[in-house]
């Protein structure tokens, strides 16, 4: 993720170049979708959120503050939209449709790996939203403490503390389910 390139694309977009926005969508479509998917565990909701986030970003591009990273801005929107849904529906976030095993493994391995994956995702889904958010940002879009703090609007110390608690809870859940 190149912040300089993103900033240039935002400027081009504001100057009226639609290709610049298309390039931003191409760059961040997958991570934004994954943030929402891992927060809510529902592909239809994730698709809705991804679309809504990019549309809001487009409509509010003139309000974007370039002192923050572009991806922090849109990940924050994706997290916030997901949290809104979780607030309305409760922590479970409604129907879950992630039941697919990973691709690429052999038949016997597939079942074990698929089951393990499901147990891990279920454990993530049981976390409180604020703990789930740090796990999603750390593991599914590979953000560091500083980025997570910027995205969530909290300081690095709080990020570390939430991440520690989240990992501890996951470790305990995975251990009790025999995944460790």
């Amino acid at each position: 993720m190149n912040e300089g390139v993103d900033a240039a694309r935002v400027r081009e977009c504001l100057a009226g170049n639609p290709q610049a926005f298309a390039a931003l969508v191409e760059q961040y479509e997958k991570p934004v979708y994954n943030v929402a998917l891992r927060m809510l565990r529902n592909s239809e909701d994730a698709r809705d959120i991804a679309q809504s986030v990019f549309l809001k970003a487009y409509q509010n591009l003139s309000n974007y503050d370039p002192q923050y990273k572009f991806y922090s801005w849109i990940y924050r929107m994706a997290i916030n939209e997901s949290l809104n849904i979780l607030r309305v529906r409760g922590r479970d976030g409604g129907p879950v449709d992630e039941r697919l095993p990973e691709q690429g493994a052999g038949p016997s391995e597939l079942l074990a790996e698929g089951q393990k994956r499901e147990v891990v995702l279920e454990a993530v889904g049981r976390l409180k939203p604020e703990h789930r958010a740090v796990i999603v940002l750390r593991y599914f879009v590979d953000r560091n403490y500083e980025d997570m703090g910027e995205i969530l609007g909290i300081d690095a110390k709080t990020v570390k503390s939430r991440l520690y608690t989240a990992r501890q809870l996951l470790k305990d859940q995975l251990s009790s389910r025999g995944a460790l």
């Binding site: 639609p18 479509e29 570390k160």
Partner: protein
Amino acid sequence: MTGDKSQIHELIQADLDGELSVTERADLARLLLRDPDVRRLHNEFQQTDQLLRDIASAEPPLGLRASILAASELSARPVNPRHRQYGWPVYRVAAVILGGLLIVGISYLVRDGYAPGTDLQGSMGPAGGAETTGLIATRDHLSMRAEGVEVSASLRRNGQQLRLELNTTATIRCEVIASIDPATTTFVGKTGDAQLTAATGQVTVQLAIGSQAFVLDFSGAAPIQLQLRSGGRLLQEGRLSVSGP
């Protein structure tokens, strides 16, 4: 486990996140050699970490990018703040003063029983139910709000037809039902994933989660009735009229 527990946990976390300094790395190595409990804890956290890392990124659904770009084309183009017009405070002040004078003038006219030359008849009436949270109708605009959804609707003339515009933000699945004839209705455009369905005497816009806009042209008479529903439950309703003859 010997030693400062919180310090041990902090070192293990930093190790997982690749944030250990050289000194800290040496401290952790010493602890791991010396204390089997620390080794066990470190091992469990590492396994948890690895299980999370093993989950591959999901591919977005086909067509997502195209629908985002199509929606952005329908949406208003972003404006560079340096090119904005009316950005001067003096214009804002003037607009506020003029707006205030206009409101005072209209209120005098209304008080004196003078009817304006149009048939603007915005009406309002929240649906029964404990979850109703607000409804404001003003002439040709209507705002409907309930928990998890906001709808702003407007109606105006567009040539020989009437144009209904809906701007919505939803965190729950719901629908807006308009009492207009589908046979005379033309879909103009939309942003987001809202879907249109029709039944006798009514058009239903099914809202997806997120922000959406929907535009319809239809032939017929105002006022029209709008209902906001979720899961078959009526959340809000109101009437929308139109300016002009």
